[in-house]
Symmetry: C2
Subunit: 226 residues, 2 copies
DNA sequence: TAGATTGTTAATCGATTAACAATC
DNA sequence: TAGATTGTTAATCGATTAACAATC
């Protein structure tokens, strides 16, 4: 990726960038499953539960353009999004913790679609070290610096219990990690120049509960109104 | 939860609601680990990488108030957030798919903190049916309607491969599910009155890659400027 | 009391929606 | 051509930030 492209990435509104990832997933699906060539903003909007205006506005930040009555060429959009997301280059990541979650992540096939690859998985449990997770052997934590150097690892996924998460984070920071993908529910305390992305799953469930409560409230209101 | 409380939930800005979940996690941590009684907006802000003004603004939507110089009483905030999130009532959820991800979810201990409980886990693989995942036995898909009725299940987590996700979603919709917590990367096509929350994990990784690219770009710029 | 911190109101910023011209 | 759809500009809406008074 050259400098110009790097700069270009910066210009998107944050909200648009979030949706671009959704468009990427949906378009991939349409291309593979339905062998579609073109898609209308209206169709995309319906699948993603947003408005067609939103879709067109988002696409207006891209170089790709649609044709009235025909829509957007899926392959063109996908090529541009792939380039934007750096799907071609491979970012090596490591996983700390070989529990169910770590294993699930290590076995995840979708990483290559976004230009990522799991370089190694680590655990401190002697019972797990040496066992296979897909094509990877579980390594002891002491091997982390070696693997990080060898594969130029910048991103680490923390999949250890909440009680060990901060400790692991401290260790990774000491090894010079650039970004932490945090799957524990622990809010980590790390230096500000280290990127942290919290993926604590229960947060999503709270969102669903909230939406269900909203619907219940609306339903009650309607009954009340009679 | 009575009607008044239900209505109250609705009044928060969406962005504030998202952050309330983070506050909940952080405050729980402070209360348990550090036995702290009070916390300043400044401290919360630093841990969550937002501004103290943002924290105070968010808290202004709550009934709890802070004291100048002393800060906010952690237990008071937690009580209010627990009430808000309905942590006391239990929402039964089911998990479809007993692969690594399904198992990770079924074993997750944090559900009770947000008023949720895994009622059952299902798979269609005869090899998996009957095996234990924590305290739950893996059940065949045909048992889904029975379990849904018995435990008044409204939320289902889809943890099956992408290729099976839509099919499973269709089935769940047929059984009257109210919300789908989608862990596959498939964009699901379901009726609009069914809530869908996509938890596709690679999206988070794209966000990290994007932030790293931004930092690289900034670094290049600085070099260039010399 | 003086200084630090909360809480609220006003100003700014950013994102979405509406309106509509351009175009296939 | 007429009608449908894109793409852009302007208007609205919502969220964040700034300013500052209130208060411990």
């Amino acid at each position: 990726m050259n400098l110009e492209e790097r700069k270009e990435i910066l210009k998107f509104p944050k909200a648009t960038f979030e949706r671009l990832k959704l468009y990427h997933a949906l378009l991939t699906q349409l291309a593979l499953e339905e062998k579609r060539e073109y898609v209308l903003s209206e169709e995309i909007a319906e699948m993603l539960r947003i408005t067609p205006e939103q879709v067109r506005k988002d696409f207006s930040y891209l170089r790709s353009t649609g044709k009235p009555k025909l829509g957007y060429k899926i392959s063109e959009l996908l090529d541009e999004l792939d380039e934007l997301f750096g799907t071609k280059e491979t970012e090596n990541i490591i996983i700390i913790g070989a529990g169910h979650l770590g294993k699930a992540l290590a076995n995840y096939k979708g990483f290559k679609n976004i230009g990522a690859r799991v370089a190694a998985i680590f655990d401190n449990d002697p019972q797990k070290i040496g066992t296979m997770v897909g094509e990877l052997m579980v390594l002891p934590l002491k091997d982390i610096p070696r693997v990080m150097r060898r594969f130029r690892v910048r991103i680490a996924a923390i999949c250890v219990p909440e009680s060990a998460a901060q400790e692991v984070a401290d260790m990774l920071v000491g090894y010079g990690i650039k970004a932490i993908w945090n799957f524990s529910s622990r809010i980590l305390d790390v230096p500000n120049d280290v990127i942290v992305r919290n993926e604590d799953i229960t947060r999503g469930l709270l969102g669903i509960k909230h939406m269900l409560a909203q619907k219940d409230a609306e339903a009650s209101k309607e009954v009340e109104a009679r």
